[in-house]
């Protein structure tokens, strides 16, 4: 079927108001936040905006019959090219299908459509003293559907884990147009070990199995109090050691973040008024819960971490907490501004390593930056070993691009060598797909086999994951 005919048919299936087909409009769907799509934007054949499960089914059946690739997309905030039509196809923009179908407070769950924005969902849940705990840095813009597709987590994964822990069930439209309910057709329970766990299979599958059209999420009571500790270290190795000390003291903070010397320099360069102390590393601990337990945990952190840190400050006062946290909250931004003619890029930005190897990893990345003559800024979720690296380059200089791609490759290989992973929370998409055989070996064949069960024609988000 030629592309003009596909466009015409889609307009007839969904109505022109739910379809974009003009070439100029399609260009706007050639990118996400990945560096890959900055270098090589790729246009889809068409973009559709389904507003019901039936809409999705109709287009899926049409695509299935005509072997047309299908690419689900949320807010396009991903860093892996996961929502890009690598070789043509129909992009499903699900970001405006954003209903909260039901907040079922008595059963501690909520049912949403995939386009709901994470922060907006939590605003609504907060009215009932509930919250959906995973806390990605992109909370204001990312969709819950995108979080499901990538099994996203974020700053509070130390205590609250990843998206998968909160997904009770999913409605999924398969490429042939069939609809399945994972987690039980009529289930509204929290505990459920009945059947093969297709919910867990779908979460993090990055759209290669089907399109998630409805999500049943477990929600938790919203903590009443929080506190922040900032610890400053003269030796890099003391920072991960202090994290371990904290765990061994029986404390599980909601988040533990690290800024290494490169990030401290970036923050101070961008906003001198923040005036972070010069150090090899700064750790920020966030503790949440009920007020007495927050106070207790804060005191323990102060005592335990204080033994290794040059200084440590603990606060539960909102204004001071905001000041202490400010360095971390602007790091991603500050990184982008360390070079006037440069931009931070999203590539090699999400490796995950064993807790015991975090310091080695940070040192190794710095050395790689020096080797390739590229400034890198390191920060991340040290509490679970997830390191975010921001290489800063001028992306319009081809020679620099070439160098940074080598750097990024080495960062990914480093993660595997250190018994880690190329991605802790951002996903694989197209950019980390080449590492799948190295990371998973023979298991890749079984992954492909599983995909085939759901997607016998291979039309679901091709070119991604493995």
């Amino acid at each position: 079927m030629d592309i003009a005919a596909i466009k015409k048919e889609l307009r007839s299936i969904l109505g022109a108001e739910k379809v974009l087909t003009e070439d100029l409009d399609l260009m706007y769907y050639s990118y996400d936040s990945s560096f890959l799509t900055k270098l090589e934007p790729k246009n889809p054949y068409a973009v559709v905006f389904p507003k019901s499960t039936e809409d999705v089914q109709k287009v899926m059946r049409f695509a299935y019959q005509n072997d047309i690739p299908i690419i689900p997309r949320g807010a396009g905030t991903g860093e892996t090219g996961g929502c890009i039509a690598m070789d043509g196809g129909i992009v499903f923009d699900l970001s405006t299908w954003d209903d909260i179908v039901e907040i079922d407070a008595p059963n501690m769950q909520v049912i949403v459509r995939p386009g709901i924005i994470h922060a907006k969902l939590n605003e609504q849940l907060a009215q009932q003293n509930l919250f959906f705990p995973p806390d990605p840095g992109s909370s204001q813009m990312c969709t819950v559907g995108g979080m499901v597709a990538n099994n996203a987590s974020g700053l509070r994964a130390v205590k609250y884990g990843c998206t998968e822990q909160y997904i009770l069930g999913l409605e999924v439209v398969l490429p042939n147009g069939e609809v399945i309910m994972t987690g039980g057709m009529k289930a509204k329970c929290i505990k459920n070990v009945s059947g093969l766990n297709l919910t867990k299979l779908m979460v993090g599958s990055e759209g290669v199995l089907g399109i998630v059209t409805q999500i049943r999420l477990r929600v938790w009571p919203k903590p009443k109090a929080r506190g922040i500790a900032m610890a400053v270290f003269d030796r890099l190795d003391d920072a991960p050691a202090a994290v371990l000390d904290t765990y061994q003291a029986g404390i599980l903070p909601s988040g533990i973040e690290i800024l290494d010397s490169s990030a401290i320099e970036a923050v101070n360069g961008f906003k001198p008024e923040i005036n972070l102390p010069e150090a090899e590393a700064i750790l920020l601990f966030e503790v949440d819960g009920n007020p007495p337990s927050v106070d207790y945990e804060g005191q323990v952190i102060k005592e335990v971490v204080g033994k290794r840190a040059r200084t440590i400050e603990w606060s539960t006062e909102p204004q001071r907490m905001a000041q202490l946290w400010e360095g971390r909250s602007i790091t991603a931004t500050a990184a982008a501004r360390v070079r006037k003619d440069g931009s931070r890029i999203f590539a090699g930005e999400d490796i995950s390593v064993p807790l015991s190897r975090v310091a080695d990893t940070l040192r190794a990345i710095r050395a790689l930056g020096d080797k390739y003559g590229i400034k890198v800024v390191n920060y991340g979720h040290i509490g679970d070993g997830n390191v975010h690296t921001a290489p800063v380059i001028n992306p319009e200089i081809p020679e620099e691009v070439e160098r940074v791609m080598k750097l990024v490759d080495e960062i990914h290989l480093l993660a595997i060598e250190l018994q880690g992973s190329t991605t802790g929370e951002h996903g694989v998409g197209a950019v980390r797909r080449p590492y799948a055989p190295l990371e998973h070996g023979k298991a890749v064949e079984y992954m492909q086999g599983v995909k085939k069960v759901f997607d016998d024609k291979g039309i679901m988000n091709p070119g991604k994951l493995f």
């Binding site: 003009e22 813009m141 991603a332 931004t333 982008a336 501004r337």
Partner: protein
């Protein structure tokens, strides 16, 4: 200046990491919901234009103009990109390449010659008074107007009989001891549509030790031209105004209009740099420019004696060109709080655009109304009797919103409320 050499085009496009933060705050994206109107989409398209991957065509400009130029994206951009400047530069580039697409007569001729603008406004006033507008409407003549102008004609409220310039003297001496000499930049919209604001401003300033000079040769601030892709004309207007005001020895150059003060600001002068605009002269000029509310609240430190008055409830709408472009949010509120008997009730999302945005309401009527309806819902929820704001474009749009929602409230500039208070004081004395 060559489009590709403009600082934002040269330095900022590459900084966009397409994180999508701009999408989450854009009032137009909230209504349209697809990537073609997302601010990061505009940055992407300006990049395509710069790199010659798309032609400077009507199709591209149609997409770029789906933007209120409210700057919400720019102030929220983690990478510090002036998205609105990129958009304006691209529009200008496209119009330069396609003169037939631009509204040349309106922006290059009518809106650069105060006399002609005044005459045409007089003609509209006469038409309104004689009912010619409804005659034209009934005969279907409004349909021949460009864009959505026919639908949007109601936004232009009944025009006042006299302009501000025809009422106010060029030199207005201070009442009492003179503290400052003020150059008053009387914007086109205040002059022709909202003269009462300028009259109130001169009243309040002169009562507080300011000699107010309103140079009669001043021309438009150029903001409508920037928004409509006429950067060269905007540059010429800026150069004219800079030279004119620099001839005087003003302590401050004050304007009541948020759009004018943002257009006359140093940031915008830097954006317009080049051509006839001398950078040193522009810098000296811009250093003296200050929004009226900021001047009254922070420089004059105005105070008002208490008086037994009827209490009034006021809500405040932040004009984008004041809150976003210049970061001025507190001064207008501080001024309002000074007025005895005035209760300031904050509306939800007071700094969200009203959808007016100069000519946007005229060219994108339906979209503008969707943005307006959200604004009105938050304003009406306050139960205020007045919406105070500091921008003639917002004033027109909000007045239209009040009409559209059959609400019993008035739109007013804070300085008008202060002037009214002085009048009450005079009466009670």
């Amino acid at each position: 200046m060559d489009f590709k050499q403009l600082p934002p085009v040269k330095e900022q496009i590459m900084k966009c990491v397409r994180c999508g933060k701009c999408r989450s705050v854009c009032p137009i994206f909230a209504e349209v919901g697809n990537e073609t109107v997302a601010p990061r989409g505009h940055v992407f398209m300006v990049g395509m234009l710069r790199d010659g991957k798309v032609e400077p065509s009507l199709e591209v400009v149609e997409r770029l103009t789906n933007c209120l130029m409210c700057e919400t994206c720019s102030i929220n951009c983690p990478s510090g990109i002036d998205i609105h400047e990129l958009n304006a530069a691209a529009r200008s580039y496209i119009y330069d390449k396609n003169p037939s697409l631009s509204r040349g007569f309106v922006f290059d001729t009518l809106w650069t010659k105060p006399g002609m603008l005044k005459k045409s406004t007089r003609m509209m006033y006469t038409a309104q008074k004689l009912g010619l507008q409804s005659l034209a409407r009934n005969l279907g003549m409004m349909r021949i107007l460009p864009g959505d102008l026919a639908k949007a004609e109601g936004i232009l409220d009944a025009l006042p009989r006299r302009t501000a310039r025809s009422v106010l003297a060029e030199v207005n001496p201070a009442k009492g001891a003179k503290q400052y000499t003020i150059g008053y930049f009387l914007g086109c919209a205040t002059d022709l549509i909202n003269p009462s604001v300028a009259i109130a401003a001169v009243d309040v300033l002169t009562r507080n030790g300011c000699e107010v000079i309103i140079p009669s040769a001043a021309k438009c601030c150029g903001l409508p031209h920037i928004a409509n892709g006429k950067m060269e004309t905007a540059r010429e207007l800026a150069a004219h105004n800079v030279k004119l005001f620099n001839k005087y020895n003003f302590d401050y150059i004050i304007t009541d209009c948020a759009s004018c003060s943002s257009a006359l600001s140093l940031k915008n002068m830097e954006f317009l740099a080049g051509g006839p605009l001398n950078p040193e002269e522009a810098q000296a000029f811009a250093a003296k420019v200050m929004d009226l509310t900021q001047f009254l609240a922070e420089k004059l430190e105005l105070t008002l004696p208490p008086l037994s008055v009827e209490p009034i409830k006021v809500t405040y709408h932040d004009p984008c060109h004041l809150a976003n472009a210049q970061g001025i949010k507190q001064a207008p509120r501080d001024l309002l709080k000074l007025i005895p008997g005035l209760e300031l009730v904050e509306m939800d999302l007071a700094n969200r655009c009203c959808g007016g945005s100069g000519t946007f309401a005229l060219t994108h009527y339906d979209l503008s109304m969707k943005v307006l309806d959200k604004k009105m819902a938050s304003a009406m929820a306050t139960g205020a009797q007045y919406i105070a704001t500091c921008c003639p474009s917002c004033t027109m749009q909000l007045r239209y919103g009040i009409k559209r929602h059959n609400w019993d409230a008035k739109v007013i500039h804070p300085v008008e409320l202060i002037s009214l208070y002085y009048q009450k004081m005079a009466k009670s004395a």
